[in-house]
Point group: C2
Chain length 145, copies 2
Amino acid sequence: MEWLKIDDVAKRSGLTKRTIRYYEQIGLIPPPERSDGGYRLYTEEHVTLLLKITNAKDVLGFSLQELQEFIALSDALELQKMDYRQVKGTSLQREKLEKILETTLEQLRLIELKKQNILKVEEDIVSLKNRAEAALKRWAEEDAK
Amino acid sequence: MEWLKIDDVAKRSGLTKRTIRYYEQIGLIPPPERSDGGYRLYTEEHVTLLLKITNAKDVLGFSLQELQEFIALSDALELQKMDYRQVKGTSLQREKLEKILETTLEQLRLIELKKQNILKVEEDIVSLKNRAEAALKRWAEEDAK
DNA sequence: ATTAACGTTTACGTCAACGTTAATGTTTAC
DNA sequence: GTAAACATTAACGTTGACGTAAACGTTAAT
């Protein structure tokens, strides 16, 4: 297994070392393995997770706490899968699943909203662009005389 | 002219009074008129601007400082328009216009990126949703026996 | 003309999300 | 085996974006 040291992860993810440790501290990423001397040893999966996190953070404007809830959701679903054969669904398990489903639906609605709004902003900027272009064109014509 | 007081603006924009004053303080919105006693007197346009600002902030995840630059851009373009007849385009004016155009193009590229990323996140969530649905379905089938 | 409701400025408080520094231990390269 | 480079924890600092409270002035309604 090829381990990554924290600075490697930092470079690959575009985050700082401090930020990576901070994310671990608040439980946003799982604690990595450690070397005998106590160095953190990461895998590629950590990098992938960090990239997803930053992406979701940027895109959805989520706070880290909100992201935690989202991550917890995915984890819960993984756990659910594993439990599945052993603990055949008690109603408690089912409620959990339904809660997960509900939350994802809410997230999707939120994303639709974001999409709508991004279009509005885009329109504003395009109109700005057009006006700038028009002004430049007038300028050029004026100049040609 | 119908003036709006700060609380009216707060209600219409969904912001707090503090936030509105803060936005004025950092130059994000133009200082409104004042009554003889010093009360702030707003117009509908202030409301519109504030809505645009919050929208852009939410959607693009811009900091207030980045938004300032964006606002400054629009303002510069308005000014450009007014200057147009008086100061026939010196090359300095043209450079300004070109800079504005360039910035809008950059903003549009940034928005494209956001769109791409939002799709990625959406996919992740959809896959989460599907897994939750599948699990629930298995549960229901199991239950039917 | 008073009073309740609303506004003003000033200033200190807060919270998230890190940055930075210090004191110390670990790996790696030569 | 000894630097140089890199890591660790702990703790304090910083910045943006407001919240909140105090002391006080203004408007609106009765």
